[in-house]
Every structure is written in structure tokens, then in C-alpha cells.
């Protein structure tokens, strides 16, 4: 199952509270909206809660509902609608691998194999180090195949560079974000082919 759905086997914590530092950030978001419209801040606050503990528990959602003065069910609705909110704990690295058509044609199966070999888990599985998930189109088809790990995109993956990337992540070594073959944004592979000089 995707981390977007709660896991009935994971006990829900009894309570949740923002740490003082996070609370300061939350106040900034809340202050952006006019009085009586505080509930508009629900999405950034859910994100803050998720960053604080890694996932959104029922207690966290209730806490935010209380903070913003809205019915808890309205928070549940938002949190369950957007797949970037995680309703179950995930490993240290949240690896979301695109297997949609462009990535698949460009070898996402190999990337998947690399991930399985390094982390020892398959799609929908999780351990302390990582959670591996299959996602629909990540919207970076030009640089396929692509994986989103945490907040960052890692593009132009092959079996070899993906395996190295995952191993580096696992070992806590620095990694390059973005294209793994040095491509600049979404330019053609090997550099620009048009507009090379003055007309």
C-alpha cells in the first residue's frame, strides 16, 4: 500500500504538538490569511507537521484542526486528498519511482531493480532506511526515468547510476540532485542543438 493510506497495524500516537520552532513557522502561515479565514492555512500546516515527525498521524490532524478552528473531518479530507501527505510512517528515504510510459520505455524497470537490490524492499514496502513506492507520471518525462526522493527529483537514471545513487543515500554520502548525466535542466542530451550562436 502507498504511504498515502494509513496503516491499521501502525499504532496512532496519542498526542501531537508543534515544537516551538515549528509553531513560529506555523504562525507565519496563519498570519497570511484574514481573520476568520485561518483554515486556509491547513495545507502548509499539514506539511509542517509532516516535516516535523515524517508523517501525519490522526493526532497531528486533530491538532491542526483545533489550531485552525475547523472540524477535524475537513482536515482529514485535505490530508487524504493530496498524495504528498503521508498518513503512515516512512523510512529515512522516501523513494517514489515513476513507472509511467515514458519512464518505463526509458528503463524504469532497471531503476526499480537497482532500488530493490540496494534497499532490499519492493514497491509498497518499507524499512528503516527507505520506503519504495511506485508513482504515476512525475511530470519529468523529458528526463525519464525519474525518481523523487524526499523533496528532490533525480533524473536520467540508469541501472548503474541509480544503484550508485541509492547506495550513496544509504551510506549517507553526498549525492547530486537533478540529472545524473549532467544535463542542464531539460536541454537535449549532450547540450543544446539549436540557437547556438547569433543568427
Amino acid at each position: 500500500m502507498s504511504s498515502h493510506y494509513p496503516d491499521p497495524n501502525v499504532p496512532q500516537p496519542e498526542t501531537f504538538a508543534f515544537t516551538p520552532e515549528v509553531m513560529e513557522q506555523a504562525k507565519v502561515f496563519i498570519a497570511k490569511y484574514p481573520a476568520g479565514r485561518q483554515r486556509s492555512a491547513v495545507m502548509p500546516l499539514l506539511d509542517l507537521a509532516q516535516r516535523q515527525v515524517g508523517w501525519l498521524s490522526r493526532a497531528a490532524m486533530d491538532y491542526i484542526a483545533d489550531l485552525l478552528g475547523m472540524p477535524p473531518i475537513k482536515v482529514y479530507e485535505v490530508a487524504t486528498f493530496y498524495t504528498m501527505y503521508r498518513l503512515r510512517p516512512v523510512g529515512k528515504h522516501h523513494v517514489q519511482l515513476c513507472t509511467n510510459i515514458s519512464c518505463w520505455l526509458r528503463g524504469s524497470d532497471d531503476v526499480k531493480r537497482a532500488a530493490e537490490e540496494v534497499f532490499g524492499i519492493g514497491f509498497g514496502q518499507s524499512n528503516d532506511e527507505a520506503t519504495l513506492e511506485e508513482v504515476e507520471c512525475a511530470g519529468a518525462c523529458v528526463n525519464a526515468p525519474v525518481a523523487q526522493i524526499g523533496d528532490d527529483y533525480y533524473e536520467d537514471l540508469t541501472y548503474d547510476n541509480a544503484k550508485a545513487l541509492f547506495q550513496a543515500l544509504k551510506d549517507g554520502k553526498p549525492v547530486t540532485v537533478g540529472s545524473q548525466i549532467g544535463r542542464q535542466t531539460s536541454c537535449p542530451e549532450g547540450g543544446p542543438t539549436t540557437l547556438k550562436g547569433d543568427a
Binding site: 493510506y5 490522526r58 472540524p71 477535524p72 473531518i73 475537513k74 482529514y76 479530507e77 487524504t80 486528498f81
Partner: protein
């Protein structure tokens, strides 16, 4: 006002009307699932698609599109028909074909509209989705696989009931309607969710697998569980009432109904008195009507009128009350009371006990002060109306009394009479709000009028009316919210102490001291029967409750579904119940019992038919006469100024789900009490009980 053409018919409607509403005005029905005239517009089922010109060349959702000048709408063009068929096919993709085992079968919007607007076969051969059922409390059964996500229930819970417990979680294929946390819906109006659901996803739990709609005999009647007098339809099969549904009445209940009124009906089959009883050697033994009457006659012979009294209960119909009063008057008694709770009114002025601005008047009020009442439990439908007014943002609300969650925000001025005094003398800031309001309103509950110092509180309220200008031309903002269906009728026909007669407290203390030796209880169960001392007690009623336990003779009467009875609601609006089923066993309609008894007692009442009894009622008060307009009462100060006890107001309704003999006998209400009052929210397993 924009003019538009719908299916070739030209119609002019106010700006802001939607196409669907405009079509309805000229009798063109557009199919719909999510649209409901009393809820906000969602526009998510797409069933109401029509062709609109000018506009983009695609069908438009008529429920969400406002009319515009010169619009041409086609509800039956090939484009509209094709669009609807497509929508219907999509709706049916994930809807199970379990109509034969679905309680909604026969009265299902989806079933009807699939026949009328859908294809006759499906092209879908894949797996259908299945959704786990949810727990929504003891009254609403769920079969969520049948849900078509119209979100009517979500909007009802949030907007009308004020209990935003329901929501739609996840999205797309995975969307589910749920409480998410497995809890009962925290509302006294949850039964209405079942009516709103256009499919069989939410059905009535107590009525599950009981009957098909075409087997039921439908009788239009009136609800007597509270003093609102909601209009209901009683559905019966054979001699059994199987369910109660609300009936539309814009002035009273709109189209809602409280859970007790809807679901306490299983109490009509339990604890019933179906034969007369006479107490012999300390034990009640079944008897014939002749024996029961003879026992009463023997006692009446040995006593005098001055030693006799009668108390009418909260569900007594006006017919039996007027005859009982006539009979006891003929026997020489003057001690009657229809106020089991000892409520205080100015008995000479009906304005002192009515909801004078009318229930519909709430829709116009702009400042509302609730005193000593918890309308959420005393009259949930009326509370929904208050909430509706609150949501418009045009009214300010304040409460004096218990601080409970009324589903809307109120200014809590205080708990006791001191706060009312502050409003009366202008020292409370809310006094200024009332003064500034165009249509200010005070709602006085039984929590304020059933105290020892109630006469003084009535005087205070009367003072508020005068000092804040609650009564003006075309508006009377003094309102009493009753809790008993029979109360206003009893007051109107004078079922109150006559000259030198005793009131309830006098009757009870008289019986206690032995000054009274004959007490007639007409369905009166809420009194302290221990205080009846050694008096000979006749109990006439439908249920074996407190009154029957103490009685020396029991005369089995009919419940409200078994007789045609007249009731005045808290506004003084006259309405009549209708007989849906026959009284149980030997039980008889109540007025006929009193008429028969009068003959045995030698004071034969002249009324032989129900029409004659109603003529008698009309003679007693014009309010009971349909043909006579009742002259508007004259406002005058009432109540007696006096010492005031500082104790807090307390609503007499401690448990909404059990207030009378019928609901106390109901198993469904016992379950509701367990969940909502005792807070035991645990979901029971399928094998439980």
C-alpha cells in the same frame, strides 16, 4: 428579471435562479442526485446536464448554472439525452446490482432515474469497486459500496444539522464518504440523512429489511413527541407502524424530523396496555370494560366532586381533555391540570403561552434571546431553523441558561434569572441589541417557567418585552417553547384549575394528605406518583408506565398513531393526527372511553360522534374552529413581580431520547441513549444481541 426559453416555453424568473429551478417552476423535471433545494449546490453528480445556448458547445449542469437573459435551454435534445445516458452509465459502473436486497428498492432515485434516463444494459465488464461500510450510529445503516458520492449527507450534516462529522476522504476511484473516526453522527436529526440519500447507501437501521414501500399504507399525521407538531407520514403494514417519515410543511418542520419522532415508534409495540385492569387485593388483574367502569362508578358514588381531580399528560388529545373536563365538572370537581411540570402562565391571556412570532418567524428575526431552554433537545427541528437563521448571519443569538452546544454560536449571558433581570433593566449589553433589532425575539423555555419563582420570571420576561420593544406593529417577539404536544391544547380548552380548584401541586398534596380521594390520570406519567397517597387512581393511557403502575383502574387508550386527535403546537397551530392503525387489543380511542364512562357515572355527555366532540371544542375556544379566524390577542403585561431565586435555569429534558411513555418503551431510543447520552460509542459486532 431574465427571460429564457426552456424546451420552447418562455419563462421569466428572478435573477440568480438556476436553470433547474426555473425548469421546475414550469413543470419540467430535470433528473438530479446531488442537488437538493435545502442544501448548498455541489454540482458533482452531473445528472442534470442540459443543452444551453448561447454557450460552449457542451452540456451544462443545470443545477449550478444561473439563468441569463435570452438563454435557450433544451432538456431533451439529443445532446442532453446522450449526456445523461453517459452519466448514468458511469454512475452504475461502481453501483452494485443488489436492488433485490436493498432497503431503498422501490423508492430509490437511482433506480427510478436509471429506468427513465439510462441505457437498458451495461457495457462495463471489469471489476466493480467495493467500499468498507462505516459506523454512523444506531440509526443509520450503511452500505457504502452503493454510494454515488453525491455528498448530500455531507452537506446536510454540516449545514442543517450543524454536526460536521461527515466528509469525503481520498479521491477519484478511492473516494469514500465517512466519519473517518468511526463515530456516531452527533445530531438529533441524523435520521434525515436516510431520506436525503438518493441511493441505498444510508438506510434506516431500525427499519432494516422490514418492508417494501409498496406494501405500506401511508397515513398523513402529526408528531406528538415534542410541541413543534412536525408533519409526518405514518407508514404501516397490517396493524403495525413500521416507520415515520417527515412531510413537507414550510411553516413548521420544513422537511426535517427529529430522531425521536422518527424512531421511537418501536415503543408503540412494547409495554402496551391492551386490556382494562382493576386492582384487586393490591394486584392489577385484567378485567372487562364493564368491570373497570363498575369499579370506578363504585368509588365515585362514595366520594364528592370536591374530592376529585384530573391530570392530563403530555400526549393527550384535545378531544379527550375537553370531555374529561366536562365530565368532572358535571361531577362537581374543579381541580384539573394539564401541566405535569407545574408550568406557570398567565391563564387569561393566550399570548403568554404561545410561540407568538410563529416558527417561520424565526426566519425573519434578527435578535434572538433564548431563556431557560435547550432547543436542541426540546425541539430539534426548531433548533435547525434557528441554525438556518444563524447561518444567514442576519441574527444575533444569546442564551440565558445552560451553556450547551446548540450547533450555532451564541452569546452566553448567564445561567440564572439575574441575567434576565439585567436584560430587563437594560444593564446587559444584549438589551441594546434587542432594542436596535427590527424583529427581536425572546424564547422562553420550560426551564424558566416550571420553577417556584416562575411567575416572577414571567413578569421579568414581560418587562423585557416592554423595555426592548419586542411587541410592535405586525410583530410579536414573545415566544414560549413548550415541550409537551398536549400543553397548548390543554391550556386553550381550559384544562386548568377552575374556581377554588387545585393545580397540580394542590392535587398531589391533597392526595397525599387524604383531602382528595379520586384522581383521574389521562396519560399522565411524568408526575410524582408516590405523592398520590391513598387516593383512588384511574389511569387512562396507552403505555404501562409510572401512572399505570400506581393505578387502581387502568383504561387502555390509543396511541397517537391509532386515533384522530387534535393538537395545538407551541404556536397554537391546530393540527390533527390521523388513524394509521387500530388501537391494540381492547384499547379504545380516548374520547370514546370518557363518553362511555360518563354514561356509567350517570352524567351522560351529549357528544356521540367525533364531529360533535369537535363542535364542543370549537364552542370552548375559536382556536379549535377551522372556519373562524382567531382574533389577534391583545398584549398586556403578565406575571407577578416577586422575589427571584438565583438558581440556574435547567432544561427539563435531560435525555432527548426518552421523554415520554412511548420513547421509554422503545429499544431504539434505549440504544440512542446508550450512545449519545451515556457516550458509549463502541461499535457492536454483527453477532451482538
Amino acid at each position: 428579471m431574465p427571460k429564457l426559453t426552456i424546451d420552447g416555453i418562455e419563462v421569466e424568473v428572478p435573477a440568480g435562479t438556476t436553470i433547474l429551478q426555473a425548469a421546475e417552476q414550469i413543470g419540467i423535471e430535470i433528473p438530479r442526485f446531488c442537488y437538493h433545494e435545502r442544501l448548498s449546490i455541489a454540482g458533482n453528480c452531473r445528472m442534470c446536464l442540459v443543452e444551453v445556448q448561447p454557450g460552449p458547445p457542451k452540456p451544462a449542469a443545470s443545477c449550478a448554472m444561473p439563468v441569463a437573459e435570452g438563454m435557450t435551454v433544451k432538456t431533451n435534445s439529443p445532446m442532453a439525452v446522450k449526456a445523461r445516458k453517459g452519466v448514468m452509465e458511469f454512475l452504475l459502473i461502481n453501483h452494485p446490482l443488489d436492488c433485490p436486497i436493498c432497503d431503498q428498492g422501490g423508492e430509490c432515485d437511482l433506480q427510478d432515474q436509471a429506468v427513465a434516463f439510462g441505457y437498458d444494459r451495461s457495457r462495463y465488464t471489469e471489476q466493480k469497486r467495493a467500499v468498507q461500510d462505516k459506523y454512523m450510529g444506531p440509526l443509520v445503516a450503511t452500505e457504502m459500496t452503493r454510494c454515488i458520492q453525491c455528498t448530500r449527507c455531507v452537506r446536510f450534516a454540516q449545514e442543517v444539522a450543524g454536526a460536521p462529522d461527515l466528509g469525503g476522504v481520498n479521491r477519484g476511484e478511492h473516494m469514500e464518504i465517512t466519519t473517518y473516526v468511526e463515530k456516531a453522527i452527533g445530531s438529533e436529526l441524523s435520521g434525515n440523512l436516510v431520506d436525503l440519500c438518493p441511493v441505498g447507501a444510508l438506510t434506516s437501521k431500525p427499519y432494516a429489511f422490514n418492508a417494501r414501500p409498496w406494501e405500506l399504507k401511508k397515513t398523513e399525521s402529526i408528531d406528538v413527541f415534542d410541541a413543534v407538531g412536525s408533519n409526518i407520514r405514518v407508514d404501516a403494514r397490517g396493524n403495525e407502524v413500521l416507520r415515520v417519515l417527515p412531510r413537507l410543511n414550510e411553516d413548521v418542520n420544513e422537511e426535517w424530523l427529529g430522531d425521536k419522532s422518527r424512531h421511537a415508534i418501536d415503543g408503540l409495540r412494547r409495554q402496551r396496555l391492551d386490556t382494562p385492569y382493576v386492582r384487586k387485593d393490591g394486584k392489577l388483574v385484567p378485567a372487562s370494560w364493564q368491570e373497570a367502569f363498575a369499579a370506578i362508578a363504585a368509588k365515585v358514588k362514595t366520594t364528592s366532586g370536591a374530592k376529585m381531580a384530573a391530570v392530563a399528560g403530555d400526549m393527550a388529545d384535545a378531544e379527550s381533555m375537553v370531555l374529561l373536563k366536562d365530565l368532572l365538572t358535571a361531577l362537581g370537581s374543579r381541580s384539573f391540570d394539564c401541566r405535569q411540570d407545574g408550568a406557570v402562565f398567565d391563564l387569561s391571556n393566550r399570548l403568554s403561552w404561545q410561540f407568538n412570532s410563529g416558527i417561520a418567524g424565526i426566519d425573519e428575526a434578527d435578535a434572538i434571546l433564548i431563556v431557560g431552554s435547550n432547543p436542541r433537545w426540546e425541539a430539534p427541528v426548531l433548533n435547525a431553523r434557528l441554525r438556518k437563521r444563524y447561518l444567514t448571519g442576519k441574527a444575533k443569538f444569546a442564551v440565558i441558561g445552560e451553556a450547551t452546544d446548540l450547533t450555532y454560536k451564541v452569546d452566553h449571558l448567564g445561567t440564572g434569572p439575574d441575567a434576565l433581570k439585567a436584560v430587563a433593566d437594560g444593564s446587559s449589553p444584549f438589551a441594546a441589541v434587542l432594542k436596535a433589532a427590527q424583529k427581536p425575539m425572546i424564547i422562553l423555555g420550560m426551564g424558566a417557567l416550571t420553577r417556584k419563582d416562575s411567575a416572577a420570571i414571567l413578569a421579568l420576561a414581560s418587562q423585557v418585552v416592554d423595555s426592548c420593544g419586542l411587541v410592535k406593529d405586525g410583530w410579536n417577539g414573545f415566544n414560549v417553547l413548550h415541550t409537551a404536544a398536549a400543553r397548548v391544547g390543554g391550556l386553550e380548552l381550559g384544562f386548568v384549575p377552575g374556581a377554588n380548584g387545585r393545580d397540580l401541586d394542590g392535587i398531589l398534596s391533597g392526595a397525599e394528605k387524604g383531602e382528595l380521594d379520586f384522581v383521574y390520570l389521562l396519560g399522565a406519567d411524568e408526575i410524582d406518583t408516590k405523592r398520590l397517597g391513598k387516593a383512588f387512581v384511574v389511569y387512562q393511557g396507552s403505555h404501562g408506565d409510572a401512572g399505570a403502575m400506581r393505578a387502581d383502574v387502568i383504561l387502555p387508550g390509543a396511541a397517537y398513531t391509532e386515533k384522530s386527535g387534535t393538537y395545538l403546537n407551541t404556536e397554537g397551530r391546530m393540527q390533527r393526527t390521523a388513524r394509521a392503525v387500530f388501537p391494540l387489543g381492547e384499547a379504545k380511542e380516548d374520547w370514546t372511553i370518557i363518553r362511555a364512562l360518563s354514561e356509567v357515572l350517570g352524567h351522560t355527555l351529549p357528544q356521540n360522534t367525533l364531529v360533535q366532540v369537535r363542535d364542543r371544542l370549537a364552542a370552548v375556544s375559536p382556536v379549535f374552529d377551522e372556519d373562524t379566524a382567531v382574533p389577534a390577542g391583545k398584549w398586556g403585561a403578565f406575571g407577578v413581580a416577586g422575589a427571584i431565586d438565583a438558581a440556574a435555569f435547567e432544561s427539563p429534558v435531560k435525555n432527548y431520547y426518552m421523554t415520554d411513555p412511548i420513547s421509554r418503551a422503545s429499544r431504539t431510543m434505549a440504544e440512542c441513549t446508550e450512545v449519545y447520552v451515556n457516550g458509549n460509542q463502541k461499535r457492536k459486532t454483527g453477532t451482538h444481541g
